[in-house]
């Protein structure tokens, strides 16, 4: 099963509710992927980075060996959920 981690930006001035978006992603992908902690850097396939705005300044240096996808809006969250569902179907 695909191992997916969620990582937040620092949330200084987010354009959307990142926590709510994360909950939606987890609900939509429930039992379709394996959600793992972002701290377990060695065992992640995809990191979904919930960036609150377009600057997407999140520190992702710990994830150099995994696929990193930046999500900058609710729409991008939906789009990436759909992409992951297509990928695992």
């Amino acid at each position: 099963m695909l191992k997916v981690a969620l990582k937040y930006c620092g949330g200084c001035n987010p354009d959307y509710d990142r926590v709510s978006a994360a909950e939606t992603i987890q609900r939509r992908l429930k039992e379709r992927v394996d959600f793992v902690s972002a701290d377990s850097c060695d065992d992640i396939d995809i990191v979904l980075v919930l960036a609150g705005c377009e600057s997407a300044c999140t520190d992702v240096s710990a994830f150099e060996n995994c696929e990193t996808v930046f999500i900058r809006s609710v729409r991008e969250a939906e789009r990436n959920v759909a992409a992951i569902l297509r990928r695992i179907s």
């Binding site: 620092g10 949330g11 972002a38 300044c57 999140t58």
Partner: protein
Amino acid sequence: MPMMTAAQYEESLRRLNLVVYMFGKRVENVVDDPIIRPSMLAVAQTYALAHRPEYEDIMTAGSHLNGARINRFTHIHQSTVDLVKKSKMGRLLGRNTGCCFQRCVGMDALNALSIVTYNMDQELGSPYHKRFLKYLAYVQENDLTCDGAMTDPKGDRSLPPHQQPDPDVFVHIVAETAEGIVVRGAKAHQTGAVNSHEIIVMPTMAMRAEDRDYAVSFALPSDAPGITYIIGRQSCDTRKLEDGLLDRGNTRFGGHEALVVLEDVLVPWERVFMCREYGYAGELVEKFAAYHRQSYACKVGVGDVLIGAAQTAAEYNNVAKASHVKDKIIEMNHLNETLYCGCIACASEGHCEPSGTYAVNTLLANVHKQNVTRLPYEISRIAQDIAGGLMVTLPSEADLQSPETGKWLEKYFAAKGEVPTINRLRILRLIENLTLGTAAVGYLTESMHGAGSPQAQRIMIARLVNMAQKKRAAQNLCGIEEE
């Protein structure tokens, strides 16, 4: 110890034995005092948010000492990314608390000392940087809140420290022993002093040879014998003693300042970071001031709250669609984001000092702070314009709760149909709080004078701009040969 939680922070303050006075009386229980407690809760947010995954990227950092995950408020900036995150952290916490959260000043003192103690050791062979790093490790390991204490009372402003009729109006060394130095004096306007575990003292200005006893920097536990705190009054402060929360405006958080008196306090040598090296006092002041002027990023976050309050008030009055109201809200946002530009710019244009610490661009930090001395006043003026006069003529919460008068307030202060009258009153009280109540101390007058009054920034701007280049550019374009 890993990073403290908010609850652990509160408990750690209970273990301190601070000597605090307010309204002429000793405050026996500082943490639970109704006037002080909201300010403690604001500092506690710096601990709480560091534990939340949706904020950790800004609120935490990796220690350059040992790689441990630490609260960013104890971090020494290792890159321009760190500096930018510091600005963003200020906005985040300003918006989260709607007031001064008090912890930036200690971070700025630590970073300034990391630069200047290194330079002193390189040039003088002194032991200060080694001492400082040991102290920094203690602060990081225990996740401490530090008060950065710079502003002396200063007495007669035309006289240097050594010529003052009262020598104590600047903090100075009065004795030196085998154990350390003995200091006397006071530091004024100390934000968050009684919510701090440590007091880091720095000189208030550049010093000359005659003032060498005043060129002193050190750290003390906040409850060291000989330290007395006298809490400053704030407009509307005693509303916190009344029943109910509505009239406070900000029902959760606040700030405080205190006069910190140091009466013959012994500072052990391992906590002394400058001792009569007068040639470095000015450098320490400039480094600290530049960092602290950047720290006024927090006012952008408080501005976010005030803009949100003004928009809410307009919607409650059902005037939000009026073109002039929309334009005023746009103007508030323009001014607020202009402030944000400055704190991001000075961080992005930062540089690495010989110690490895990253420092902000001093010119841009001063420009940013100069903007902060002005724009919050204009943002406040517009907020009051939108709010209307009711924000200062509104009867009290007790009148709203009274069976005799409450019905009249409900009847005559109702506005847009579905909006509960009490919510309209809440938002107006918040605007009052931010623009002329307890929070105006931080949002307005502290914006004016904190981290240096406006003229201090203008002097730095005059000194730092590249005037020769500007002249060359102009002369070149109009055909003037180089003189």
